[in-house]
C-alpha cells in the first residue's frame, strides 16, 4: 500500500486522524494533514482506507 496526501486540498476536518491515528496527524497550527507513514503495516491498512473514504476534501490517495 502507498499513501499520498495533498496538503493544498486538505480542509483540516481531522477525519484521517479519527480513523487512522497511526498513519495521519495534523499540524498544530492549522490542522493540515501530516503523513506519518506512506506505507502503513497490514493491520493499519483498513483504517487508512477508511480515512481516505471519510476525507471530505478527497485529499488522500491510496495505491494498493
Amino acid at each position: 500500500m502507498k499513501v499520498t496526501v495533498a496538503q493544498d486540498k486538505c480542509v483540516s476536518s481531522g477525519q484521517c486522524v479519527l480513523n487512522a491515528g497511526e498513519v495521519f496527524d495534523q499540524r498544530d497550527d492549522d490542522g493540515v494533514v501530516l503523513l506519518l507513514t506512506d506505507n502503513p503495516p497490514l493491520e493499519q491498512a483498513e483504517n487508512a482506507r477508511q480515512a481516505a473514504a471519510a476525507c471530505p476534501a478527497l485529499a488522500i490517495d491510496i495505491e494498493e
Binding site: V11, S12, G14, V17, L18, G21, Q26, D28, D29, D30, G31, V32
Partner: protein
C-alpha cells in the same frame, strides 16, 4: 437554462417552505416533489427575486466544485438570507463564509487550530463535566424540565465560550443577537442593531486579548486571532468577523442538533435503547453522524451565485 428563466419566474413558489407538521424531520413536501421532477427549480425569496433551488444531489455536488460558482455575497444577484444581510453586506469584512478559493483557505486555516482532532478530543473531560452538571441540575428540580433551555443550549454555549475565550456570563447577550440576525424576515433595522453590537463586542474582546501576553490561560480561538492581528496578518475587524462566525455557528447548530436529536430518539425508542445499552464508542459516534445526516439542521442549505453563465 436561460430559455426557462422568464417562463417559470412568474409561478415560482415562495421559499423557504413549511415542513409537514406530521413529519417534522422530512424536508418540506413541496421540496421533495420539486426534487423528483427536476434537479433545479426557480423559487421566490423574501425580496421577490427568483434564484434556482438545487434539489438534485449530483447537480449540487457538481456546482459546489465548479469554480464559476461563488460564495461572495457582494456579487450582484447573490440570494441574501434576509434584508438585514443585504443591508450590511458592505459593512461586514470578508470572512471564511463569504470568500472563495485561496482566500477561503487562508481564513479557514486561521480558524482550524482549536478544531484539530487532538484539541477536540482534549475537550472531552470538560464537555462531560458541563453535560453532567446540566443533567444534575435537571434531576435536582421538579420534573418535567425543558430540555432546550436546560441542556441543549447551555452545553454547546458553555463549550464554545471556553473554546473561544468568551466570558460565559455574556451568553444571553450573544444568543439574543445571533437569533435576531438569523430570522428570515429580520429587517435591516432589527438585524443591524444586533449585528453592530455583537461586532463591537467581538472587536473589544479581540483588542483585550491583543494586550495579553501568550501563555497560560490564552489557549483559545479569539486569542489565536488576536495574535494574528498583532502579527499583521489580519485586521481587528476581520478577526472580530471570524470570531462572530464561530460564536454563532458554534452554539446554534449544536443546540438545535441536541434538541431535535433527543426528539428523534424519543420517537424511535428502540434506537434510543440500542444507544443507551452500548459501551462501544465507535457505535455511538456512528449514530451521531447518522443523526446529523438524518436531521440536517441547516435545512435551507447553502447559497451561491454564478460568477459567469453556466
Amino acid at each position: 437554462m436561460s430559455e426557462t428563466l422568464t417562463g417559470t419566474a412568474t409561478e415560482a413558489p415562495d421559499y423557504p417552505m413549511d415542513r409537514d407538521a406530521r413529519c417534522p424531520f422530512a424536508p418540506p413536501p413541496q421540496v421533495l416533489e420539486m426534487g423528483e421532477a427536476k434537479p433545479l427549480s426557480r423559487v421566490r425569496i423574501w425580496d421577490g427575486s427568483t434564484p434556482w433551488l438545487i434539489t438534485g444531489h449530483e447537480v449540487a455536488r457538481e456546482l459546489f466544485a465548479d469554480s464559476r460558482v461563488s460564495v461572495d455575497d457582494r456579487r450582484d444577484g447573490f440570494p441574501h438570507w434576509n434584508e438585514h444581510m443585504l443591508s450590511t453586506v458592505y459593512k461586514r469584512p470578508r470572512s471564511v463564509f463569504t470568500s472563495d478559493a485561496e482566500e477561503h483557505t487562508r481564513f479557514r486555516r486561521m480558524l482550524s487550530k482549536p478544531f484539530t482532532f487532538k484539541r477536540v478530543e482534549g475537550l472531552r473531560p470538560a464537555i462531560q463535566q458541563v453535560t453532567d452538571e446540566c443533567i444534575d441540575a435537571i434531576l435536582a428540580r421538579p420534573q418535567p424540565a425543558d430540555i432546550v433551555t436546560k441542556l441543549a443550549l447551555p452545553v454547546p454555549t458553555r463549550v464554545i465560550s471556553e473554546m473561544l475565550g468568551v466570558p460565559y456570563e455574556d451568553h444571553e447577550f450573544f444568543q439574543h443577537h445571533a437569533n435576531v440576525g438569523l430570522a428570515r424576515y429580520a429587517s435591516a433595522e432589527d438585524g443591524q442593531k444586533g449585528a453592530m453590537s455583537l461586532a463591537q463586542y467581538l472587536i473589544d474582546l479581540v483588542k483585550t486579548k491583543m494586550e495579553i501576553p501568550r501563555g497560560e490561560g490564552t489557549e483559545d480561538a479569539v486569542s489565536d486571532l488576536a495574535e494574528r492581528v498583532n502579527g499583521g496578518e489580519i485586521s481587528v475587524k476581520e478577526a472580530a468577523q471570524l470570531g462572530t462566525g464561530l460564536l454563532i455557528a458554534g452554539h446554534e447548530t449544536t443546540a438545535n442538533m441536541i434538541g431535535i436529536g433527543v426528539l428523534a430518539l424519543l420517537e424511535n425508542p428502540e434506537q434510543a435503547a440500542l444507544l443507551r445499552d452500548s459501551d462501544d464508542a465507535k457505535f455511538i459516534a456512528n449514530a451521531v453522524e447518522e443523526l446529523m445526516r438524518y436531521l440536517s439542521i441547516i435545512q435551507n442549505g447553502q447559497r451561491r451565485v454564478a460568477a459567469e453563465d453556466i
